[in-house]
Symmetry: C2
Subunit: 533 residues, 2 copies
């Protein structure tokens, strides 16, 4: 590990020299940079996805329009085999209008948003502050919630923002990522995550049974940001729900604690759409010259939550994927292997789109033991064995994912794939002067390459400058086009196009890790986390 660590540090420091010491880049490199710099369409594509199409909640009417738009765009670019690849997902949902007002003890227009997949409501009712995080908490509130708007979160405290919200990675930051990360399995943590999902459904049912008017939860960010992430996309929730800005929510709880429990007026004019329960990945190809079936792929999830326009999460990645396709086509570059482009859907609900692709074309795992609703397919995914490769398993020679905002690409996570490191490093080396040539050994998760890597496929996610992604835009109302960085997005599309071309023309597909054969071991000596809920 030490050696790899040093290599990474060296690559980082001597990045501008790397281009001089490695062979001169292929002519394709110059063509990609020319097309991606001088005739870039990446911001035009991103603006269509955000300003024009708006947030793209999976199966929502806006997502349907976005799917049609993406298919048309890929066709316009001259891609082939452009298709919607469907799987059972659940209901569409959208917001028409919403308003939450405090009516007593004084009038305040609150900052709030409906929670996705909750039913509509228009009502005025008193609040009750009833924080509940597990089923055991229900007993204390039974019989006390009828006719009430139930504030289900603890109010918490303002988080003092002592770090800069907008960041770029230093060489030191990147070097820290360059460590072997042992795949771990923490059954207690998984159980807690599962319980949290199940709890949302239990709470929804409990509140419905109790005759609550609606539930309100607190935003998890301060300073009036909202998110509105929802649950139960398969059935829709039963209890209307809103997320209230932290400052407004805490005021409600304080007034209640003073014996002046406010009355709220909630208007949540939202609509379900059951015209089609299938969600659709969008797939499109640039065919290779070799007919072996071997292909490389780039992907980004196209779906978003609804508070903003899903700009950094993940119109940014989607636009870079589409722009990479356009660049390759427009440059007239032909490759040996086919290059496939994927815009995933259902990612925000738990990587449903990429899981569907894996299950259809790459490898199967046994079904989860528990009935599948909400996000239960996600948790425990890596523990279900055996992994059975499908005929398409060998065909996928490389997969590159983008899903960390609009920040400049700084390199790539090698996902503990030691044999791939020097190859990825060589491929990225011409991007040293553009800051993108770091290959780190470690793994990253939470997006669509994850379960491909988990079945042994050479699937990778790029490292990106975080900008204000974690601090501000991720899932929030501020996730809009103006938070995207054009220079960074152009660079990302060029890097992606280049990596696809290199992978598609490589003599051999990227080396793979072995197909995992058994569940990850749990550490018998593991000390329980004292901070766990």
């Amino acid at each position: 590990m030490r050696l790899i660590h040093l290599l990474a540090a060296t690559a980082l420091v001597s990045a501008p020299l790397a281009a001089q010491t490695t062979p001169p880049p292929a002519p394709e490199f110059a063509r990609i940079v020319d097309e991606g710099t001088n005739r870039s369409q990446v911001m035009v594509l991103a603006q269509q996805m955000t300003d024009v199409l708006g947030p793209r909640l999976t199966n929502s009417p806006a997502m349907r329009k976005a799917e049609d738009w993406a298919v048309a765009e890929f066709k316009r670019m001259g891609l082939t085999n452009v298709r919607k690849d469907g799987f059972d997902f659940g209901r569409g949902w959208s917001i028409e209008r919403s308003s939450v007002r405090m009516m007593t003890p004084r009038a305040v227009q609150l900052t709030a948003i409906p929670i996705a997949w909750t039913p509509p409501v228009s009502a005025t009712a008193p609040i009750v502050v009833a924080p509940m995080t597990k089923k055991e908490h229900f007993a204390a509130w039974r019989g006390k919630l009828a006719g009430k708007i139930v504030l289900v979160s603890a109010p918490g405290k303002v988080d003092d923002a002592t770090e800069a919200p907008f960041k770029r990675l230093s060489g030191e930051d990147i070097a820290k990522l360059d460590t072997f990360k042992e795949p771990t399995w923490d059954p207690a943590k998984n159980a807690r995550n599962m319980a949290r999902m199940t709890f949302e459904e239990d709470l929804d049912a409990f509140l419905k049974a109790e005759g609550a008017v609606a539930l309100a939860r607190i935003s998890y960010r301060d300073d009036k940001l909202l998110h509105g992430e929802g649950y139960q996309h398969r059935t829709g929730a039963q209890t209307p729900g809103v997320e209230i800005a932290a400052e407004d929510y805490r005021r409600l709880t304080r007034l209640a604690a003073m014996g002046q429990a406010p009355t709220l007026e909630i208007v949540s004019d939202v609509k379900f759409d059951d015209s089609d329960r299938q969600a659709y990945n969008i797939l499109a190809d640039i065919p290779g010259t070799d007919k072996s079936g071997s292909y490389v792929m780039a992907g980004a999830h196209f779906d978003s939550w609804v508070a903003g326009d899903g700009a950094t999460d993940n119109a940014a990645g989607s636009a870079m994927v589409m722009e990479a396709a356009r660049i390759i086509r427009a440059s007239g570059i032909r490759t040996k292997r086919t290059i496939r482009f994927a815009l995933w859907t259902g990612e925000e609900q738990s990587l449903y789109g990429s899981i569907s692709y894996i299950e259809k074309y790459l490898a199967r795992r046994p079904a989860p033991a528990t009935p599948q609703n909400s996000d239960q397919n996600y948790y425990g995914q890596t523990q279900r064995f055996p992994v059975t490769p499908l005929p398409g398993y060998r065909d996928l020679a490389a997969y590159f994912n983008i899903d960390n905002g609009s920040g400049k690409l700084r390199g790539i996570y090698a996902e503990n794939n030691a044999a791939a490191v020097p190859i990825l490093r060589e491929w990225l080396s011409p991007f040293g002067p553009m800051g993108a040539d770091s290959v780190v050994f470690g793994r990253t998760g939470g997006t669509d390459h994850q379960f491909m890597a988990a079945v042994g496929l050479p699937a990778f996610q790029f490292i990106q400058d975080p900008l204000d992604y974690e601090s501000v835009t991720h899932h929030s109302g501020a996730d809009t086009f103006d938070h995207l960085k054009a220079t960074d997005m152009r660079q990302g599309a060029m890097v992606l196009a280049w990596m696809l071309v290199k992978a598609a023309n490589a003599d051999a597909p990227l080396p793979r890790n072995p197909i995992p054969q058994a569940p990850l071991p749990t550490d018998p000596f593991q000390t329980p986390d004292p901070n766990a809920e």
Copy 2:
């Protein structure tokens, strides 16, 4: 200057020792700290002002309730001569309900707030993006705005937040304040500020004459924060107006630039209240034993804007002032001089409350040359001569102001009053261990001590840790009780109580600077600021 600078730095570094090397604090010190620490009411007072009373726009119905509450509280604490001291101000105004929605090309509930003192509206109309910053811009839009919602701001760009929003001052930060700041007079800058005020009124009248439905401006902070500061409190504005969150505003302008100018639905259910045009400072005394008429005073402005609850601006200062009064009364401390407590009003519109107090009781300046509307009394105030002291001029022995959020007091600005520096330093020295013993030579402005200091009175503002005041809470919707820091507020009230007691018992009143005799000179060689608008 160098000497003073060094002294300040030394005081800072050796703060914990200062208490040992200065004479032991008077018994009053221990009584103040005991009362202010162990039986503090400062957060109870602040919560009443924010959660319960809410935002306190000058002359609004909420402010009337707040005035009554403050009078009752001061009386309950046993203060005497508790009174409302009125002056002509203008109209009351409040928000009942508001909503701004984009209706086409797609439905989005926007984040927006009515602008204070604009009239109500309920309408649906298309937007036109017509940025105007001076009267010369009107010609281009004449005849094009009827029936439109006019977006009057340029959209600008997201400001990358590369500094931490939440800050405390380091010793180095404080040392930087310890410099002589020559009072300056920049007639060009003053003219620009005046023109900006006048322009708001001109724009309002222009849009009314053109038949615009409403105006919309952009929030000056990103990440969905809103403010809603208004204008024309004397007459009320003629054109309905809303401030739209930066992200939402920019989306509108981009869609318009793409030829898809959105239609908005605006509901601004706001009310004027003309039951009383007088605004009222709240004054209350703790009488001294000496009947000479000499008194010391603490003040904070009690009024606020309306997006939040006016917590850090300035329930914090108001609560510290009231708590200082309570501490002194509850400690049974008697002083030679009377101690007066002032809760100013109309500060946000331009220090109207403190200007009124000065003009009634302390010193007169000639009336402004231009007719007084909006904030024109503020600009040019320091240039109007002669200053004519009133009989009360000599009586005010010291004035202490608090108005920079809820952050811990770190010391005090000596307002270029060299003779006062060692005295203030001695008085503050017992607060070294609590971090409040820095005396800096420099000046600060923008709040209610400013025009007292400008007529030569010993009037001072404290230095405070900024916390998230400048970055987040100042005038914004996030200016709520949960952004106040209890430990800091308790410290502030104790420091203030102590300084009042010391000033009220001092053998001699604080030294004063001479009464200014003539306008400040302008620099004939001054280079015009190339960045000026």
